[in-house]
Symmetry: none
Subunit: 206 residues, 4 copies
Amino acid sequence: MAARTRSASRRGAEPSDTRQALLRSALALFERLGYDATSVQQIVDDAHRTKGAFYHHWESKEALLRDLHEEFIDDQLERARAVIGRDLPPEEMLRELVTEVLMEPLSVYKSEITVFLHEHRFLSDAAFAEIRRKRDEFENIVVSVIKRGMDTGAFKKIGTPQLVASGVIGMCAWSYTWLEAKGKLSPREIGETYGDILVKGLAVSE
Amino acid sequence: MAARTRSASRRGAEPSDTRQALLRSALALFERLGYDATSVQQIVDDAHRTKGAFYHHWESKEALLRDLHEEFIDDQLERARAVIGRDLPPEEMLRELVTEVLMEPLSVYKSEITVFLHEHRFLSDAAFAEIRRKRDEFENIVVSVIKRGMDTGAFKKIGTPQLVASGVIGMCAWSYTWLEAKGKLSPREIGETYGDILVKGLAVSE
Amino acid sequence: MAARTRSASRRGAEPSDTRQALLRSALALFERLGYDATSVQQIVDDAHRTKGAFYHHWESKEALLRDLHEEFIDDQLERARAVIGRDLPPEEMLRELVTEVLMEPLSVYKSEITVFLHEHRFLSDAAFAEIRRKRDEFENIVVSVIKRGMDTGAFKKIGTPQLVASGVIGMCAWSYTWLEAKGKLSPREIGETYGDILVKGLAVSE
Amino acid sequence: MAARTRSASRRGAEPSDTRQALLRSALALFERLGYDATSVQQIVDDAHRTKGAFYHHWESKEALLRDLHEEFIDDQLERARAVIGRDLPPEEMLRELVTEVLMEPLSVYKSEITVFLHEHRFLSDAAFAEIRRKRDEFENIVVSVIKRGMDTGAFKKIGTPQLVASGVIGMCAWSYTWLEAKGKLSPREIGETYGDILVKGLAVSE
DNA sequence: TATGAATGAGCTTTCATTCAT
DNA sequence: TATGAATGAAAGCTCATTCAT
């Protein structure tokens, strides 16, 4: 029993191999079919693993979803913090938030983001409190940039900072719904256009 | 025994009473739990009806979802057609699309729209072809207004009309995700703010 | 209410029109799909009638099956009685039973017979006692002809009359399973061949 | 509580114990009630198993039916091949086909054959192609024996080999409908009688 | 005679999860 | 670490039948 060393299992794969394979399969299936419509069986079949392996790595299907979210939201939050750490006027900061934080990650995390946005509902669970906290922190960063712009006179006071921030986020986030379909443009290029419109739309008229 | 007229028993209720009751219950549950996570049993329990009655009115759960979508998309398309039928400059037309077509219906159809946007996935089915056609027609209307604005020199040529239209729609559509949560503002008020930002953001600088 | 005369209903059709239409549809569907797999809804749809009409004419789906059986078994029994009423030697009588009673009706009642043979199971019910009685009477007629042949020395005593009769009936009845598939031959022609084989097979050797 | 080893709980039963138990129960129920009229619930109750276990072993109720068929048709085909592999004149070969291939297996596979013959309808599915192929091969073996007899002058040319073969098969197969009911005779004894009648009926008169 | 909405039990199947090994 | 048979609750859906009209 003790003799059953690592190399005997799954052709000498690294221990976290299985974990990664399952995560990848789950992500692809969630994106295509939705979290609810994807069964654990499908995930393990797709990853050429077994249910036992799945439940060895996660206590539930939901726990895997949580892990999936965590990865990208950490990245996004980090990017956001980096942007507001820079010494930039609000217009430029908004532009960078749009391109580098809101749009750019879509290049890498398109699937995660699609799943995240689609599976909102499951985030109400207590287990997702941490993720919700991070998402809120991210939103607050956007709000704070708008607010600073309004306070310093760079942006017109059209609506509350919260309302404007929601518009900014929505404009960008929405693109996950059509990105692949119509896509000749990279997320960054889209972000630049949207940044232009938003900055100009918010600027104080001269 | 004598009191058993028209109330204890569901038989002989008003025509399509049952249909309406089921639609209402389904809508509320889909919004709260999602289409997939809502069972037919939950729907009929909520409506105080039976599964038999459900399947008497719809051939499947999906058919009900289709009916739910149809109602509001027809309304939205009609509103959009009305707006482009008016004799207005592109700026005003865009403003009206935003307030009257994109945001205003959220007052009435918040639930339907939430369901509609969340349940995209199920629209891939052939049975939803008509709904998809209408949604495309609607999108094309927004695109055409942006395009006219660019062609007539009212709007700057920032990005393609398609890209800009997607941004406009996204900015508004996204609001369904937070509308209730933060909501002191009416959809119309939100639309006015967003309209201002967008029109100003697209305007040719003077 | 009393004024709702016959011609107002179903385009002036004869009263038994509906009954006949339902019987025809049920027969065709039972043959194709089986009794169990055919729903009352399918029957009434196929006949362009309604469930109400169905249950007006029959108290149950099984009652209709009974009616379906009755029609053809009466015909078959009558034919059998006619044959044994003739003044013929056993060989000829057997030949006529095979061609005129066992095979010939397949030309007319192919569907009924297929259903009858396939839906045996449902005949165990008390409601089918009469049909079972008639089928037994029919079998006894075949047995009696074989027996007379053996008693008079026309047929060899190979096995009991019951056993031989079962073989005769089986040889013919089985043909319903392939009749349509391979069918260039009429039931009568098949019966003539089988009659030849059986009569020769049973004859006392010279 | 201590007694709960291997008997109160079904887990850890002998390998494929469950599979066999379910097959046996299904077979008995299908024979008695018919495939359609037998529910998966009845099967698992009868086998003291659960539905989950059922669907762990078969993907559908139909898949189980297929397994049930396969077992006996393989046996029958093997017997038929063995018979035509022997060096025998057509008369003897026909006699052996009747006794050893058509009738004898009824001793063992009465239930399977009853189900098989009754549930023809379900064999139209693509999944049953293999079974259909085997059944056809079996029929062709019978046809070929008749044909050889006719070609070599052992049998009279009464009807086509196909027609005669169908009669032979029918005469025997039909016996499943009454075998139990009247049964003092073994399938082999029945086969000997039928073999006599058929061989004599087909023989060229001397 | 006939309608058709409604019933309610039952259907086949799915699935997240458990657990002896 | 991992297996995979088994669980049991619940899913979507069907259907013979009833009944107020």
